[in-house]
C-alpha cells in the first residue's frame, strides 16, 4: 500500500542553523507515528514545513502522491490535513462551540455568506465533535476563560472538523493532567482506528509516546538518528543519552512512594 505521506530529503536552514537536515520518512495509512527529540531538535520546524507555515529549503513532501511542499496552509488543509499547535491558537472572542463551527463553516465553504446566523450553522456536528473530546459540557463557555488543558482538547476537535486523512499534532497533550493525557491519546488512537486516519505527533511525555505510538522516530540536531518500535527506541543507547536520560532520580522517588 502506498503511504499517505512521504517525505524526502527535507531540510530547512535558519541562517547558519540547520534546523532540519535531510529528513526522509513515510507514514502509512492508519499509522500513529511519533517524532521525538531534544528541545530545539527541529520537530516543530518539521511540522511547520509539512503544514505549509514554513517553506522548506529543499526536499519534497508528498501527500497521497501530490507534492505539497511550499503550498499555503489553507490549501494543505483543504487537501485533508489537520493540525494542532504547540502553543495553542484559538479564537478567543468566540465560544467553544463557535470555534468548531468556524472550521465547519470553512470546510463547507460558507465563509462569505451574509444571510445565515453563524452560531446556528452546523451546531449539532460541532457539538458531536466536542463530545468526542469530552468538552460538550463547556460548549457555550467563552473560549478566553478556558484552562490550558481544555484549549488543547478544543484544538483537537477543531482539527477533526473536516474529516482529515492526516493529523499533525505538535505536543498535543502538553499542559494536561496525566490521566487526561493518556485519555486524549487513547481518544486519538480510537479515532484513528475508526476513521482510518494517520497521525504524526511530537510529545515530551514518554508515558504517552510509549503507550500509543506504532512507530517512533528520533530527531537530534535536525537529523533522524533512530527509528523503530517502542522497545527498540526505549533501549537505544544513543536515544537514551541525548533524550531519554537515565530516569534514576524519578525512579528513586517512585520507589520511595511505594516503599
Amino acid at each position: 500500500m502506498s503511504p499517505i505521506l512521504s517525505v524526502r530529503n527535507l531540510s530547512r536552514n535558519f541562517g547558519a542553523i540547520k534546523a532540519v537536515d535531510d529528513v526522509s520518512f513515510d507514514l502509512a495509512k492508519g499509522e500513529l507515528l511519533a517524532l521525538i527529540g531534544p528541545n530545539g531538535a527541529g520537530k516543530s520546524t518539521c511540522f511547520n514545513m509539512l503544514m505549509g507555515q514554513l517553506r522548506p529549503s529543499s526536499g519534497t513532501v508528498q501527500l497521497m502522491g501530490k507534492n505539497i511542499a511550499g503550498m499555503q496552509p489553507r490549501k494543505i488543509w483543504r487537501m485533508g490535513v489537520g493540525r494542532t499547535f504547540q502553543i495553542t491558537a484559538t479564537y478567543v472572542s468566540m465560544t467553544v462551540v463557535e470555534n468548531v463551527q468556524m472550521a465547519l463553516i470553512s470546510h463547507h465553504r460558507r465563509l462569505y455568506s451574509l444571510t445565515s446566523f453563524a452560531h446556528k450553522l452546523y451546531r449539532d456536528k460541532a457539538l458531536a465533535l466536542l463530545e468526542t473530546v469530552g468538552m460538550a459540557d463547556q460548549a457555550d463557555r467563552h473560549c478566553a476563560v478556558l484552562a490550558y488543558g481544555d484549549l488543547k482538547r478544543l484544538e483537537l476537535a477543531v482539527a477533526l472538523a473536516h474529516d482529515p486523512v492526516l493529523l499533525l499534532m505538535d505536543e498535543p497533550t502538553a499542559g494536561m493532567a496525566p490521566r487526561e493525557r493518556i485519555a486524549l491519546m487513547q481518544l486519538t488512537a480510537d479515532i484513528l482506528a475508526q476513521r482510518g486516519i494517520s497521525v504524526l505527533f511530537t510529545e515530551h511525555d514518554m508515558d504517552v509516546v510509549f503507550a500509543h505510538s506504532h512507530r517512533i522516530m528520533v530527531l537530534n540536531r535536525g537529523q533522524l538518528i533512530a527509528e523503530g518500535t517502542v522497545d527498540e527506541i526505549r533501549n537505544n543507547r544513543q536515544v537514551q543519552e541525548v533524550y531519554l536520560g537515565g530516569g534514576t532520580l524519578f525512579k528513586a522517588a517512585e520507589d520511595d512512594a511505594h516503599a
Binding site: R74, Y91, S93, M102, L114, T115, A118, H162
Partner: protein, 620 residues
C-alpha cells in the same frame, strides 16, 4: 549645483525638528502602544513655551537655555497628561487611549489660544547665528548648519539609550509585555511615565528648535502630525535610525517639491510612503509588528449574540420615536437628525471593520468623501438623477476600496492604519489641488435631491430608510459567517489560515464592504447639504469616525452608531460656544476615564450590575 546643495542643506536642517518629534512619537508608541495623536500638540506647546522663554531670557545662553527648558517643561506637561489622562485608561481596549489623546489635542488647542492669543508668533533669530554663510555662492543660514550638526548627536544619544542601556532593554521589553516586566520587579508605571516624559520633551525640543525658522502658530499641531506619522512609518515603527533616515528623505523631498512641483506638495510624501510600504511592509528599517501581545489588550472580547428581546424592544421603540420625529418637531431637528443618522452609518461602517476585523483605519473618510464626491461629480458633469447617483456613490466608493484595500492590506497593524491615512490624504489633495474638476477649495455646489425628495421631511425618511437599513445590514453581517470569519482572522491568523480561511481575502472583502457603506453615507450627505468640500475627505473627518467608534465601544456591536449619535449631537450643541474645543475635549476625556469600555460597553455593565441585563456565565 550650488542651489541643489543649498536645498539639500535646507532639507537636512528641516529634518532636525521632524526627527525629534517623530522619534518621540515612536518611543511612546513602542512602549505604551498609545498612538499619541496629541504629539503634534506637544510640538506646538514647545514652540509657544520656547517663544515666551526667549522673550524672558537674554543672550546666547538664554536662547539655548530657553530651548532646553521648553523641552523640559513640555516633558513635564506630558507627564501630567500621562498620569491624569492615560493611566486610568491603560487597561482599556487597545487603541482606546487614542480617543483620550484626541481629547488632549482639543484641550491644548484652546488653552494655547487662551494664553497666547490667535495671532501667529514670529520666532526670534538665534543670537550669534543670525548670519548666513555662502556655499558655492548660495546663501545658507548659519542656524541651519547648527541644526544639521545638532540632530545627529540627539539621534545617536537616543539610539545608545535604547539599544545599549538597561533602561532601553526594559523599555523594549515593556513594549511587548508590560505585565510580565512588572512581575519581574520593574516598576513599569514609572517606566511608562519616563518614556512619556522623554517623548514629549523631544517634541517640545523640536518645537522650540524650529522657532527661528518657522515661528509658532495654532495650526502647527495638525500640520506636523501627518509628516510625523509618515516619517515614523517609512522609517519603521520603533527604529531610531529609520526615523532619522525617513525624516531626512521627507524633508529634502519637501524642499524640492516646493521648488519644482508646487502642485503636488501635499501628495508627495504620502506617495513616497505608499511606495516604501509596498516594497517593505514594515518600513525601511522596521521589524515586523507583533499584534495582540500580553497585558495590553484589556479584557478579552465577549462572544457576540443576537440581541435579546429587551434590547430589541428598546431599539424598536427608538426607531419608532425616530420615525415619528417629523410629526412632533420642527424643521431644524429634522435636518439635524438627518445629519446624525448619516454620520451614524458612516461610523457604523468603520466600526464593522474595526470591531470585527481589528482593522484600524485612519483614512475612512476617503470613502465617505469619495462617495460624496462621486455623487456630486455625476450630478455636476453628467446631470445624473439623485436615485442613480445614490446607487453609484457606494459603488464608486466600493471600487476605490477594492484598490486601496489591496494595497493597504499588504501591511498590518499601525502600518495598515498609516497606509489608509495616506490614501485619505491622497484623495483629499486630489480634491483640493485639482481645482478644474473638483472646484478645489470652493467645492461643488447645487447638488440637490430630485423633486419628490426635496422636502426635508421626505428626505429625512429616505435617509432614515437607507441609514437604518445599512446599519442593520452591517449588524447582520457581524452575526453571519462572514463576520465570524473576519473575527477569526483577527483573533488568530495562524489558526484561521490553518483551517482554510484566506484571511487576507476576508479582510479585503470586509474593507470593501465597509467602504461601500461609507460611500452610501457620503452620497446621502451630499444631497442633504447640497454641496461638498474637500474637508469631508480630511484626516480630521476620519479621526472623527474613529473617535466615535471608540467612544461608543469597540468591543460592542452597537458602539458605532451610538457613539456617532452622541458625538455628532454634542458637537452640534457645543460649537455654539467660544471655547467649544476645550469643552468637547474635556468631555471626551471624561467619558474615556469614566467608561473605558465606551458608552455601550459601560451601559451594558451597568445594566448587568443592576440586574436589568443577564450576565453571561463567564463575564469577566
Amino acid at each position: 549645483m550650488g542651489l541643489f546643495i543649498a536645498q539639500i542643506l535646507t532639507g537636512l536642517a528641516n529634518a532636525g525638528a521632524l526627527f525629534m518629534v517623530a522619534s518621540g512619537l515612536s518611543l511612546i508608541f513602542g512602549v505604551t502602544r498609545v498612538v499619541n495623536f496629541a504629539h503634534g500638540s506637544f510640538y506646538m506647546l514647545g514652540a509657544y513655551v520656547g517663544y515666551s522663554l526667549m522673550q524672558a531670557l537674554p543672550g546666547v545662553a538664554g536662547f539655548w537655555g530657553a530651548i532646553l527648558l521648553a523641552g523640559l517643561i513640555v516633558g513635564v506637561i506630558g507627564v501630567i497628561v500621562e498620569i491624569c489622562v492615560l493611566r486610568p485608561v491603560y487597561r482599556a481596549p487597545e487603541l482606546f487611549q487614542l480617543v483620550a489623546t484626541f481629547g488632549v489635542i482639543l484641550v491644548i488647542q484652546d488653552l494655547t489660544l487662551m494664553i497666547w492669543g490667535p495671532q501667529d508668533l514670529l520666532g526670534p533669530r538665534a543670537p550669534g547665528l543670525k548670519g548666513i554663510i555662502r556655499i558655492m555662492g548660495e546663501p545658507v543660514p548659519q542656524y541651519d548648519i547648527a541644526l544639521i550638526a545638532i540632530t545627529p548627536f540627539v539621534a545617536i544619544g537616543l539610539w545608545y539609550l535604547i539599544t545599549r542601556t538597561r533602561v532601553g532593554t526594559l523599555v523594549r521589553a515593556a513594549t511587548q509585555d508590560r505585565e510580565m516586566v512588572g512581575a519581574l520587579g520593574v516598576n513599569q508605571s514609572w517606566l511608562f511615565t519616563g518614556v512619556f516624559f522623554l517623548g514629549c520633551a523631544l517634541a517640545g525640543l523640536g518645537g522650540a528648535l524650529q522657532l527661528p525658522k518657522g515661528g509658532a502658530d495654532l495650526l502647527m499641531d495638525f500640520s506636523i502630525l501627518g509628516a510625523v506619522f509618515v516619517v515614523v512609518v517609512i522609517g519603521g515603527m520603533g527604529s531610531l535610525p529609520g526615523a532619522y533616515l525617513a525624516a531626512v528623505i521627507i524633508s529634502i523631498l519637501n524642499v524640492f517639491g516646493v521648488t519644482y512641483a508646487p502642485q503636488s506638495t501635499l501628495v508627495l510624501m504620502f506617495v513616497v510612503m505608499v511606495v516604501v510600504l509596498m516594497i517593505r511592509p514594515f518600513g525601511l528599517l522596521g521589524k515586523e509588528e507583533v499584534a495582540g501581545e500580553h497585558g495590553q489588550t484589556g479584557e478579552p472580547e465577549r462572544p457576540i449574540k443576537p440581541a435579546g428581546p429587551r434590547i430589541r424592544l428598546l431599539v424598536t421603540t427608538l426607531l419608532v420615536i425616530l420615525a415619528l420625529l417629523p410629526l412632533y418637531s420642527g424643521n431644524f431637528a429634522v435636518v439635524l437628525v438627518t445629519d446624525i443618522m448619516i454620520f451614524c452609518l458612516f461610523a457604523a461602517s468603520l466600526h464593522f471593520m474595526l470591531g470585527q476585523g481589528g482593522l484600524v483605519s485612519f483614512g475612512h473618510a476617503a470613502f465617505f468623501g469619495g462617495g460624496a464626491y462621486a455623487a456630486a461629480l455625476l450630478v455636476t458633469y453628467a446631470s445624473t438623477p439623485m436615485e442613480l447617483a445614490l446607487v453609484l456613490a457606494p459603488v464608486s466608493a466600493g471600487l476605490a476600496a477594492i484598490v486601496i484595500g489591496w494595497v493597504c492590506l499588504r501591511s498590518t497593524g499601525v502600518y495598515f492604519a498609516m497606509l489608509t491615512l495616506a490614501f485619505g490624504q491622497l484623495l483629499w489633495s486630489l480634491a483640493f489641488q485639482w481645482g478644474d474638476v473638483t472646484g478645489g477649495d470652493d467645492g461643488l455646489v447645487n447638488i440637490w435631491p430630485s423633486a419628490w425628495a426635496s422636502d426635508n421631511t421626505v428626505y429625512y425618511y429616505l435617509a432614515f430608510t437607507l441609514c437604518v437599513g445599512g446599519i442593520l445590514l452591517l449588524r447582520q453581517a457581524a452575526h453571519a459567517p462572514f463576520g465570524y470569519a473576519l473575527r477569526a482572522a483577527r483573533d488568530s491568523t495562524r489558526q484561521a489560515e490553518a483551517t482554510g480561511i484566506n484571511t487576507k481575502r476576508v479582510q479585503w472583502v470586509a474593507f470593501t464592504f465597509a467602504g461601500t457603506m461609507a460611500g452610501l453615507a457620503g452620497g446621502l450627505f451630499v444631497f442633504s447639504k447640497g454641496s461638498i468640500f474637500p474637508n469631508e475627505l480630511e484626516t480630521a473627518r476620519s479621526f472623527d469616525a474613529l473617535i466615535v467608534v471608540f467612544l461608543g465601544g469597540v468591543k460592542t456591536l452597537s458602539g458605532g452608531w451610538v457613539g456617532g449619535a452622541f458625538f455628532e449631537g454634542a458637537k452640534d450643541y457645543l460649537t455654539r460656544f467660544e471655547y467649544w474645543r476645550l469643552t468637547l475635549g474635556l468631555l471626551i476625556i471624561f467619558v474615556v476615564i469614566l467608561g473605558p469600555e465606551g458608552i455601550v460597553g459601560s451601559l451594558r455593565k451597568a445594566g448587568e450590575r443592576i440586574g436589568l441585563l443577564k450576565t453571561p456565565e463567564d463575564a469577566t
